[in-house]
Symmetry: C2
Subunit: 241 residues, 2 copies
Amino acid sequence: MRKSNVFTEEAVELFVNGKKMITFMCTPENLDEMALGYLYSRGIIECVDEFMGAAPCSSGKRIFAIVSKKLKDEVYSIKNIVMSGCGSGELPKELDFYKRDIRSGYRVEMGNIKETFGEMLESARLHQTTGGTHSAAIKDNEGRVIVREDIGRHNAVDKVIGAALLEGMNLERSTVVITGRVSSDMVVKAAGAGVPVVASMRITSNMAIEIANKYKVNLIGRIGSNEPLIYNEVEGTYIER
Amino acid sequence: MRKSNVFTEEAVELFVNGKKMITFMCTPENLDEMALGYLYSRGIIECVDEFMGAAPCSSGKRIFAIVSKKLKDEVYSIKNIVMSGCGSGELPKELDFYKRDIRSGYRVEMGNIKETFGEMLESARLHQTTGGTHSAAIKDNEGRVIVREDIGRHNAVDKVIGAALLEGMNLERSTVVITGRVSSDMVVKAAGAGVPVVASMRITSNMAIEIANKYKVNLIGRIGSNEPLIYNEVEGTYIER
């Protein structure tokens, strides 16, 4: 495939119930999924039924999402942060995280996660052509896999979460695999969406491990290598080697 | 060198003249330089003389910077953004950028930039041990080179800018080289600091090119390859092949 020399970056404003919430610097595709994933992992909506839908305006620079409940003013404003990762604008210590309850008992085999990683790389079209994007995949315990890409790690994760919800996947019984490193903000996002396992091609930060222990997210690093790292094992989730 | 399996991530709050400005999710070293680079590239201070100094508190989780002028309230608040890049929290279209005037006439040879790239990789200690960090280098027209690392691309650039200012480098006659891709926010930062050339190991976004043309920043991609990409050539700066 011919390498592209430029990647597409667009400022897309998310309006929720008619009011501006946030601007994503993103790869402008799968925007409805991104909106849903964002709203869900931040806990702004509690279940997918509260998401009435989202549609981009004709220019593609705004996305209008409608949710079935009245939102408080404070969800429209988040703190000023310079994130280490491709940023969500959210900071662990300054925000009350949204943490979804994860019922225990999820079992997943390492081989299965490695397979998901392979499937992700295989279908990462933008990455193959630009080398400048991140990919995220989600696989549920029925073996369904969804892969999404974006120039931002966060956006890619929002997209797979949104897509998985629209597909009716059970996030409590799923694993998210990402290309980028796992900084604290990625764990916050997984915990917010109720995803019990996050595996990365890269490594993880000390702060990510700390938060993962607290919020019962399992972290795996170097998933593409022969010896993936299991950073922590939290009660109720079983990573089978 | 032994590979590390975890990278260090810390939430460091920047207080300027006693008031909280922003939180960096960063690699907690060279914090004074990061503070200075941040304040300068955002135009919060106009020259290095206005920076009286910065010191971390004993826990290392706060850095207190003092500047010689009274700051307006609005510089303590920026908009809510999900950045594509390792985020600055700033969005091109929603903020008035700070743009430093760059006097024309800077000449730099491609070979020189490639050399800087090599020097950067060679001294990127964290990258060599974790594989999970970004590096930035700055080289001035006297051949001085400074290399800094951070888990965030932005922080790495803030650090080299701050370090270069403390060294007395002339940023108008300098080139910044980075490992990460160039999204719009990186160009905004270079323009704000008055750096005329940004070269990356990776590629550049459409939006970055648009902003670079407007603010007269030269963008170079794939600097590590045999055929680096010159994305644009702006009046007054000469990239000699």
